[in-house]
Amino acid sequence: MKLVKEGAPAADAWTHVDDDGELPDGAAVIVSLARFKADRDALMGRNAPLGLRLQSHEPPADVAEDLTRFEVVALEFPVFRDGRGYTHAVQLRQRFGFDGEVRAVGDVLWDQIPNMLRCGVDAFEVADDFPLEAFEEARTVFTNVYQPDVSGRPTVFELRHG
């Protein structure tokens, strides 16, 4: 797997930890919602960066009060047709003002990247041979947008009127 940010491979400082896995001392770890709920106090107090992994049926609203503790929220896309992650990304950014990394993991496909970016995903865990060209295309495929998105750029409705 590789991590892609801003269209280029990026160093991944984070480790996904299983629900019963050891927490390496001082390491930046991403834990599941179940693990977080079970070990909340210990994890909140831990002196190391913390990330949260949400399955597609786990809305960010479930951890609204604790979101500031996380530097990364990884959203799982179990199959490409499960689009809940788009709404969850939008909610993270707009409703909860989450400004850490929102990472897409799972079944991420070439043609979904443009919309994931627009919904607030800014990091992608993809297979090693995933073409970087897809990220380039994602930035250029559509010049304008009809809906407001996390970028805050004006929509076509607005652009038409200055």
Partner: protein, 551 residues
């Protein structure tokens, strides 16, 4: 009519480039069929029984003559010379090659057309009243709102992978000519006491395996809130709609399982948080409305002497006027429906030559505007009464002059097992056999308003749940069998048809339909009582008896 500006044109052109890349990647093996399928579907490309099928969007059923000519061109150049107009006001081509589809879309883009979101689990092409802009009973033209919804829903980043497809319809009159209560969201444009425009929202309607009539979720959404309120509905659905079972994934099931009140509460909470997010400037509403300004109609007397004289002289014309011509809001004009239900032609099919003729007639007589109806017919919305006879004469010569709108032979019918990969039984041959049985126009007129709707599988593309008489084709042990349903309506008095009982084999379904019709004729309270009114008065029992007990 709306016309693209550079923003709209750029978006459609960019989509063509994107799709061309997707097709190339598929052909090169950079993605599997499973990965390609949702992408091609989102551009209306299916793989059916005999070939690919391309569904082209006709937003809210409005076409210009130039667009209709392009549809004819596509039929001739890339297909087998015809197209099929659908119950969602779109057109389908049955024989395109995958390798040609980028070129087809490129051609379509030159007349501001596309296949964007005509399939897939996303917000589909928005539909509307085919008489919009011409009907005397509308509050205002609903199409500017349709266009606003079209733009907002195009490439919506959050709502491309919904639990299931999502259909929106908009009308602006009490009469519902777009079946809004059978849509995921149905919108009726209304005016409040202060005279302000707003929207009545209906939610959770639909047909398919579990037909449900939409429930009213909001009496009045102010126009500035239209898109925020719609976003809230979609967001709640995307987060909570079921994804474990394709047959329970539509919003109608979510609303049913949550209950309307709880669903509405969730929408209100989201709406309260996000209201004001989608900016829809007043100037933008005005800009879009300006495109739908009515054409400059000639100042004509309400009554046309020439038209009246023709009606008097020509009985066949009189029949045509009775069923196919409706009052227009402008004096001296009429709304003329063109039946695509001629004997021996699959309902909704039109040849390239017929499309060209309709384009010519629209240009010559009707301000260049054409509509497609969800009942799979065409409409010339603005024809001077003085010209209706000439229009009819030209239509008749091309096999388009059938005087049967709303009658027993004006059947809604899906492509069925003759074309469709999902179908369980054929529907076109049954529709054609019914048309032949009732070929006598005099008899059809005597029977009066009667909507037969037929589907070849439970997906209900042929709207059988809301047919006055509905027919559903099923597969029973490898044999085609047809179930009969009675008493449905897709109009403002929406109701779901009820099953009569055991199904009928292909060689008996037409007899069964005729039995139902004869039973109605024997029971009706005078010539003016329609089939539906009669059924609602007498109930299922006498029909059931006639169908099953006599044997």
């Amino acid at each position: 009519m709306y016309r693209y500006d550079e923003f709209d044109q750029t978006a459609v052109n960019e989509r063509v480039v994107q799709f061309r890349g997707q097709v190339e990647r598929r052909l090169k093996g950079l993605m599997t069929e499973e990965q390609f399928k949702p992408l091609r579907l989102m551009n209306g490309l299916y793989l059916q029984l005999h070939a690919y099928m391309l569904r082209v969007a006709i937003p809210y059923g409005t076409l210009s003559s130039a667009q209709m000519r392009m549809l004819a061109h596509v039929a001739r150049k890339y297909d087998k010379g015809y197209g099929h107009f659908t119950t969602r006001q779109n057109i389908q081509y049955n024989w395109p090659r995958l390798v040609d589809t980028p070129a087809i879309l490129e051609d379509l883009a030159t007349v501001q057309m596309h296949g964007i979101q005509t399939s897939g689990n996303c917000i589909r092409n928005v539909t509307s009243d085919p008489f919009a802009g011409a009907a005397a009973d509308e509050v205002e033209d609903p199409r500017p709102w349709c266009e606003i919804i079209r733009q907002w829903s195009t490439f919506h980043p959050e709502f491309m992978y919904l639990p299931r497809k999502f259909k929106i319809a908009v009308v602006a009159s009490e009469r519902d000519r777009a079946a809004i209560k059978l849509h995921d969201i149905g919108i009726r444009v209304v005016r409040n006491e202060a005279g302000e425009t707003g929207f009545e929202f209906w939610i959770g309607g639909g047909m398919g395996r579990t037909p449900i009539i939409a429930k009213k979720i909001k009496d009045f959404v102010p126009k500035a809130d239209l898109l925020d309120y719609a976003t809230a509905c979609l967001r709640v659905y995307n987060a909570l709609g079921r994804r474990d079972n394709i047959y329970k994934a539509r919003i109608k099931i979510l609303v049913h399982e949550m209950g309307l009140d709880k669903f509405a509460e969730a929408v209100e909470a989201e709406f309260a948080r996000t209201r004001g997010t989608v900016k829809l400037p007043e100037a933008e509403i005005a800009r879009i409305q300006a495109y739908f300004a009515l054409p400059a109609f000639a100042d004509l007397p309400a009554r046309s002497t020439a038209f009246e004289a023709r009606k008097f002289e020509d009985r066949a014309f009189r029949d045509f006027v009775r069923t196919n011509v409706r009052a227009h809001k402008a004096p001296g004009h009429a709304i003329v429906s063109i039946s695509l239900k001629a004997d021996g032609v699959a309902p909704g099919d039109a040849s390239a030559e017929q499309m060209d003729l309709v384009a010519d007639l629209a240009e010559r007589y009707a301000h260049g505007e054409i509509r497609v109806t969800h009942e799979q017919n065409l409409v010339l919305p603005h024809v001077p009464l003085d010209d209706v006879y000439d229009v009819w004469t030209a239509l008749k010569a091309a096999g388009l002059g059938t005087a049967n709108i709303g009658l027993v032979s004006d059947i809604i019918c899906c492509p069925g097992l003759d074309y469709c990969d999902l179908a369980n039984a054929r529907s076109i041959p049954v529709a054609e056999a019914i048309q032949r049985r009732f070929a006598d126009l005099e008899r059809q007129h005597a029977i009066g308003d009667l909507k037969i709707k037929m589907s070849g599988c439970i997906n209900a593309c042929g709207h059988h749940h809301v047919g006055h008489i509905g027919i559903l084709g099923v597969d029973k042990h490898g044999q085609e069998l047809y179930q009969l349903q009675l008493g449905g309506s897709g109009a403002e008095d929406a109701s779901l048809a009820k099953l009569t009982g055991a199904g009928f084999p292909p060689d008996r379904i037409v007899d069964a339909v005729e039995t139902v019709v004869e039973t109605y004729l024997s029971l009706r309270d005078g010539d003016d009582e329609s089939f539906l009114a009669c059924y609602r008065r007498v109930g299922m029992a006498p029909f059931k008896a006639a169908l099953y007990e006599a044997r």
